[in-house]
């Protein structure tokens, strides 16, 4: 087909978390510019299987930019060159015929490689379990419109809640910090009246768990915000720091 591209992929191959990985060079031929980056991988894998070779393992699911499962580090950038999109929404029209594309997994001590490009992000679940919630049992609530929330607060909380938990912020950060992820949840709940009761415990417990998982600290570089596919704002980290300071100074426990 005309307009199709031939590309060279340098892909990270690693059998499991204990074995050493290496780059492998794979040709991707006849790639349509309308394909998504993952559909290009489908084509490559189909060929590898037909040639009797092992396909490249990678994480993906919804392929519409919302589940947060896909996670490739493309040419040195999480989710590739385009602003505000996940790998599954990155289209091959962002590349040129003849390009060489380097694809790696997220790299962080807190995200061990499972195989090839798939990593273990269960540390995020444990941070959420440490405090990323409002303690309200089913049925233990009042009528929804009894809680009035200023529209601006609701909108800001929503913007923070748009985080998809993909881990691009960690992969982008030179310190492997998870502060953007954690602060998005802390902010969402700190901005809402429902979240006030537990706000001190929440931020202290989530940050404690974040440190225990081996994530680094924030040095305000802003790479996370620049690479976040949902464009979560750095202001959330500032808000979390304020919440954390105030909780540390005033908590009577």
């Amino acid at each position: 087909m005309s307009g199709n591209m031939n590309l060279t992929l340098k892909v990270w191959k690693q059998k499991n978390k204990n074995e050493k990985g290496r780059f492998e060079t794979i040709e991707a031929k006849g790639i349509s510019p309308d394909m998504s980056f993952l559909e290009m991988f489908d084509v490559v894998n189909e060929k590898l299987i037909n040639d009797g070779k092992e396909p490249i393992a990678f994480d993906h699911d919804c392929r519409e930019g919302i589940c947060g499962m896909c996670s490739m580090y493309i040419n040195g950038r999480p989710h590739g060159p385009k602003q505000g999109v996940t790998t599954c929404q990155l289209h091959m029209r962002s590349f040129k015929d003849g390009d060489t594309i380097v694809v790696e997994p997220w790299r962080s001590a807190a995200f061990p490689v499972i195989k090839d490009l798939a990593v273990d992000r269960s540390s995020f679940d444990r941070i959420m379990a440490a405090g990323g919630f409002i303690s309200v049992n089913t049925g233990n609530v009042k009528d929804a419109n009894n809680i009035l929330i200023p529209k601006d607060d609701a909108d800001t909380a929503f913007a923070a809640a748009a985080c998809i938990g993909c881990g691009a912020c960690v992969a982008a950060c030179k310190n492997s910090s998870a502060m953007l992820f954690v602060s998005a949840k802390v902010s969402q709940l700190a901005l809402l009246p429902q979240g006030q009761v537990e706000k001190q415990d929440r931020v202290l417990n989530m940050v404690k768990q974040m440190d225990e998982e081996g994530f680094g600290n924030c040095t305000n570089t802003g790479a996370c915000e620049a690479e976040c596919p949902k464009e979560i704002s750095l202001e959330n980290i500032a808000r979390m720091n304020r919440e954390y300071m105030s909780a540390s100074f005033t908590q009577n426990k």
Binding site: N50, K53, P55, E64, D125, M128, G139, F158
Partner: protein, 662 residues
């Protein structure tokens, strides 16, 4: 018609309005001490699974949650866009529980159970309360109250939403409730685990076999009850709006162990999806139904009109939904809108390079919003450009993420030119048959959310899937499971070296070994795509006897080929996505055959099931209430053999009529 003796729907006595309230107050309870020793396995962590698991754990049961994704937060409920219905009547537009009930039954083309649907409408308001309590950031008005919008098949505004990411926000709410229980040790979370069989002992569900997808190890898990919250099976068509991993395996294994499958042929084809662009395509992307609040659907009046849509003047456009259905216009239910789009395209009026698309146009409403904004801002005599700029800001706030997604995928700017859309497989109304307690025909095994067949009849209304998933998980199963578990308090945990566990694990292992030993010449996807094409062509938007008969024979051939020529690389004891896919496609092939059998059996058209032989002169679905007002529940009897059982549908509170949206 009488219902089959094998199907006891256990609908409580009493008037429709009082059934649930009365039943809920009389269903047996389990005391807190006994709850601590009762184990519940929840398979799937979407809206139904996460909400059920969190709530059961809050009540004191021991819960294990399984999901194949790397985190429960990634279940495909996350991708639901438009909203969640609830009969709150916050807009003072005449909404009520009865209206939501009525709209849902009518929307389902009179093929759903009255008692279940009424219960759904009754608890709908509680869902919104619960979600707000959890901190779900719904859209709000300036006064701080919740905002609503309209969805198809209704004339009130009862849909609550969070931009175009309502499913994400509701799921994250349920996920946070779930993680809270995980943190408290009340729930054991097993992510990257896939259920591959259910274990039955003396006819009751007693556990599952799951594969750890990282190590490849098979595991045996005992439970006093098993909840399948595993979603729908739209991926049988290969191309659908479902996530790549969405599958029928858990439900299908349950079916083969005795759970009847209800109405498998009822498939929802969603009218507003981004059209297929080429052979490489791996999935289809939905553009939320909420867009039909402000988008007008049209095709050119002239065949093969190749002008740019913005160059086609108003009087040369056919707004066919507004023309055919003036009362509901662009907000007719999905099945009606999809068929109308197909009709126009088949007649040669389609647009775009494939001619399999229609326009969804926001210009008129952008202008309307722009004028309102100009008035608000006191701008006298605004120019057209000014109006459109102001209008675009409003449209952006309402649907920004959807417009971005569209631009990303198609490379076109929907603020400037109409979207091109076409119907695509989206949801399956069919699923495991369940009684009023949500229990399947296997005692102790339940099906919740999209995985069951129960509430949407032959067509689901928009924003009702989120409602049903959360209703089942938060407000139904926590009560109804007591009816079964109160009888199980004396059952001690069964050791997993019991012969039934050993045998089930061996069968799973044998199947895995078989996949790896075939070493054929075609990839799993190759077979999946072929199955999808058969299903879309013959069991998709329009079906007929001849096509279905052909499809059944073709699928049987495909199955033989699959089992002799599939190539699954790698080995069993590692992370092996191809092996996972092989198991899922093997089950899809068997399900596809049953869907065609069911579609062939149902000699009528209703909702999403459109048999070309049965239509009115105007091309509307022609039901046969005398002979087909029943749920078709299929019992597995061996390879390609299924026995039909009928559950009669009785309408005592609604006058059954031909569905009209004119």
């Amino acid at each position: 018609m009488a219902s089959s003796p094998k199907l006891n729907s256990r609908i409580p006595e009493g008037t429709l309005e009082n059934k649930w309230t009365k039943y809920r107050s009389t269903v047996p309870l389990v005391n807190p001490a006994n709850k601590r020793s009762l184990e519940v396995l929840v398979v799937g962590s979407g809206l139904a699974g996460a909400s059920a698991a969190a709530t059961l754990a809050e009540m004191g049961y021991k819960v294990k949650v399984f999901c194949f994704q790397d985190s429960p937060r990634r279940a495909h409920s996350i991708a639901a866009q438009g909203g969640v219905n609830a009969a709150k009547n916050y807009q003072n537009d005449g909404d009520s529980i009865y209206r939501l009930f009525y709209d849902t039954i009518k929307g389902g083309d009179y093929r759903a159970r009255e008692a279940n649907v009424h219960r759904l409408a009754e608890v709908s308001g509680n869902i919104i309360d619960q979600c707000v309590g959890q901190g779900v950031p719904f859209a709000r008005e300036y006064g701080g109250t919740l905002s609503n919008r309209s969805f198809g098949g209704t004339q009130v505004q009862r849909t609550f939403y969070a931009a175009g990411q309502t499913g994400q926000q509701l799921l994250l709410g349920a996920y946070s409730a779930l993680q809270r229980q995980v943190g408290m040790g009340a729930v054991t979370l097993l992510a990257r685990h896939e259920m591959l069989d259910v274990v039955t002992i003396d006819g009751k569900a007693r556990g599952i076999i799951a594969r750890d997808l990282i190590s490849g190890k098979l595991e045996r898990h005992f439970g006093h009850a098993v909840l399948l919250c595993t979603g729908g099976y739209g991926n049988v068509f290969f191309l659908s709006t479902n996530a790549m991993g969405s599958n029928v395996t858990a439900a299908w294994k349950a079916h083969k162990k005795g759970a009847f499958f209800g109405n498998p042929c009822y498939t929802q084809i969603h009218p507003t999806c981004i059209p297929v662009s080429g052979d490489h395509q791996s999935k289809l992307t939905l553009m939320s139904e909420s867009l039909r609040n402000d988008g007008r659907i049209w095709v050119p009046k002239k065949k093969d009109d190749n002008r740019k849509p913005t160059d086609i003047p108003e009087d040369e456009r056919d707004y066919y939904l507004e023309r055919r259905y003036p009362a509901f216009g662009n907000l007719v239910p999905r099945d009606v809108a999809s068929r109308a789009a197909k009709e126009r395209c088949d007649a040669g009026y389609g647009v775009g390079s494939s001619k399999l698309a229609v326009y969804l146009d926001f210009a008129a409403n952008t202008e309307r919003y722009g004028k309102t904004e100009a008035t608000k801002k006191n701008i006298q005599n605004p120019t057209k450009e000014e109006i459109m700029r102001l209008g675009k800001e409003v449209v952006k706030e309402k649907y920004g993420n959807l417009f971005d997604m569209y631009a990303q995928i198609t490379g076109e700017n929907p603020y400037e030119t109409p979207m091109r859309i076409y119907p695509a497989v989206h949801y399956t109304m069919g699923g495991l048959w369940v009684d009023y307690n949500l229990m399947t025909t296997v005692p102790g095994m339940y099906a919740l959310g999209e995985a069951n067949f129960s509430d949407h009849g032959a067509n689901r209304l928009g924003a009702s899937a989120l409602m049903q998933g959360l209703a089942d998980g938060y407000f139904v199963i926590p009560y109804t499971i007591g009816a079964y578990l109160s009888e199980e308090i004396r059952t001690k945990a069964i050791p997993t070296d019991h012969p039934a566990f050993v045998e089930a694990e061996k069968n799973v292992q044998d199947q895995i070994n078989k996949f790896l030993s075939i070493k054929g010449s075609k990839s799993v996807d190759y077979f999946h795509k072929r199955l999808g094409k058969i299903m879309w062509d013959k069991c998709g938007m329009a079906r007929n006897k001849e096509g279905l008969t052909w499809a059944i024979a073709e699928i049987q051939k495909l199955r033989k080929e699959f089992w002799s020529d599939v190539r699954v690389p790698g080995d069993a004891n590692e992370f092996n996505p191809e092996l996972e896919k092989a198991g899922r496609v093997a089950d899809f092939i068997e399900l596809g055959e049953l869907m065609c059998i069911d579609a062939l059996n149902r000699n009528e058209s209703c909702g999403g099931h459109f048999r070309e032989e049965y239509q009115t002169e105007e091309g509307e679905a022609l039901r046969d209430d005398e002979n087909y007002a029943y749920v078709a529940a299929w019992e597995y009897k061996g390879e390609s053999q299924f026995e039909l059982h009928k559950e009669e549908l009785k309408y005592e509170n609604i006058k059954i009529a031909q569905r009209s949206y004119k």
